[in-house]
Amino acid sequence: MSTVAQKQGFLAVLWDYLTTVDHKKIAILYLISGGFFFLVGGIEAMIIRIQLAVPDNNFVSAGLYNEILTMHGTTMIFLAAMPLLFAFMNAVVPLQIGARDVAFPFLNSLGFWLFFFGGIFLNLSWFLGGAPDAGWTSYASLSITSEGHGIDFYVLGLQISGAGTLIAGINFLVTIINMRAPGMTYMRMPLFTWSTFVASALILFAFPPLTVGLFLMLFDRMFGANFFDVSMGGNTIIWEHLFWIFGHPEVYILILPAFGIFSEIFATFSRKRLFGYAAMVFATVLIGFLGFMVWAHHMFTVGLGPTANAIFAVATMAIAVPTGVKIFNWMLTMWGGSIVFTTPMLYAVAFIPSFTAGGVTGVMLASAAADYQYHDTYFVVAHFHYVIVGGVVLGLLAGTHFYWPKMFGTMLNEFLGKITFWLFLIGFHATFFVQHFLGLMGMPRRIWKFLDGQGLNLFNLISTIGAVFMAVAVLVLVYNIIITQIKNVRVGNDPWGDGRTLEWAIASPPPFYNFKQLPLVRGLDPYWIEKMEGNTKMTPAEPVGDIHMPNNSFIPFVMSLGLFIAAFGAMYQVDWRASDGESFVWAIPVLIIGLLITLGSMAVRSLKDDHGYHIHKEDLLKDDEGGRE
């Protein structure tokens, strides 16, 4: 069979994407759906800001506000930020370590579809009687009493997409441990790979507590258990602990890959190897490790007592040290370099002060006794948007511009890119800087409206105006993406000219089998090494030979669909029982059918051998002559 891409009809392309197990296509799936959810979460943010633009506003009602607020946080964290990071991990990490694909291509696809159906399920709540309304943290006493199915959507949706995330995490870990090209030792791995590795390890250990927490909540709400019902001996603090044992590592799951992206960008556009590489690696691991020791800093006001508060306060502050090491290493990477301000570099450069500001307010929050004042105020909102928007989102925007050519073979317009950048940066600081003061001036978070005469009007208005800037910036980006794809100007393997790592040694976009011959890695920044020696290509580590490829499969889609269907059954059997079997008689059957679909497709998968196929040497050689497209 020939490997030359052919023009395909829309349905064929669709089918290809529904069944693909290719990490590069899965990356695109993650990018599109993560991007979509980012717009959804962004629209929710805009509604929040409009409601809070002026005192005593009635743009949305109280109940609706809580739903929007909850969905904004949940969507942004679980359905936008993480999947977008997964998009870049999928697109880049296998190339960076010179692998054929990820370790488990089938599971990679399964992970994506689980996330996707979980996200869709969660968002269907808008149309099926109301979204969750207890905050993204869904604290037990409120979420247990919350009426309707909102919280059920939260629990089931996150359970499904969380399973996908866990699978993705294990997949990256095994890929990075087992699939590195010859010569790619651990201490030669690019930092983005390293941060993916650590973030995946965090996923592996942080998601099980969330899974358990969600199960307990699910059992309480849907099957009559009493974990959180105080009158039956339950305890709501259990939820808070389980949530934050997950929740704190989660924020590092978000930021570490963003750190990784920035590390690549700093080195590339300073034309300099990353300063203090070993220290950077060590700091990444240390942040990951400490990330598990600090979760109770979200619970200082719960009443855990001064001993626990003091211990967790000091442990939290300790994280400032490895993070500081990273900040300084980035700056020293630029120092003595040759900096060129491309769009990705602009984001990277803006990231340093923005994130530092967010990080240091984090350390202020860690001061337990002072946190009694900050907690649950806009000061906290300001802190986490500074680290998340000023860190993760800037990282995602930078990554989008940086890796776009590698993923799509086209280059986003630099001029428009810079417009997006400036609008977004200005808007971001305008929105969130004043929120620090709002919090200190006595404005709690998660409030539907604030009243006149409390001195909160001006800053809230400024904050809203800032958000409008961000919205315009995002629209410009969307426009940029559209015209870039319409113009479709193709670029070569190293469009930025200063690529250092393996992914820039391969065509943009890479052929579906990645490297024809696994490259030989001779040091850190292998492509740079080759370029410095005057080579245009990597030295191969093996002769051209047959390449083994996995088959496409529709099973991951069906498996996830089964859980999606089952979730409706699980949810509506509550009404079925409440009505004494009068209505919703379909609920239990739907639950069973959904589970059967999932189990059945699992059985098919394990009973039917799938050995993949081989691309033959001759076809590979032919590819060279024919060229692509």
Binding site: L173, A201, F205, G233, I237, F292, G305, D546
Partner: protein, 110 residues
């Protein structure tokens, strides 16, 4: 695609040797199984005997830990080579597990 692990140059010697080694290992497994049963018996007898709990609790936990070590190192071959990453992650998991349980025993009051 996969490369086969190189076996020894002389397949015959290698074969006999491997057989013997495997059988030996199997005997060790049986021994460790006996040990596990023994440890379990002690644990149950201690509870049956009704000692004070300040004494029983730590001993019970120590015995459980011993059993787990036996399972991991004999039955699950954790000591064999090629288990480095597996061990690292299992122990990291165990550490997180330990901290979780510790907090639930101390700062989740009712």
């Amino acid at each position: 695609m996969a490369t086969q692990q190189s076996t020894s140059a002389n397949p015959k010697v290698n074969y006999e040797y491997r057989r013997k080694k495997a059988a030996e290992e199997m005997r060790k497994h049986v021994t460790s199984f006996a040990l596990m049963i023994f440890v379990t018996l002690i644990a149950f007898i201690m509870v049956l005997a009704g000692f004070d709990k300040t004494f029983v609790y730590p001993v019970l936990l120590a015995l459980a830990a011993l059993q787990v070590v036996l399972q991991l190192y004999y039955f699950m071959h954790m000591s064999h080579k090629g288990h480095g990453a597996a061990a690292l992650f299992l122990y990291s998991g165990a550490l997180v597990a330990f901290i979780t349980i510790l907090t639930f025993l101390t700062i989740v009051w009712w």
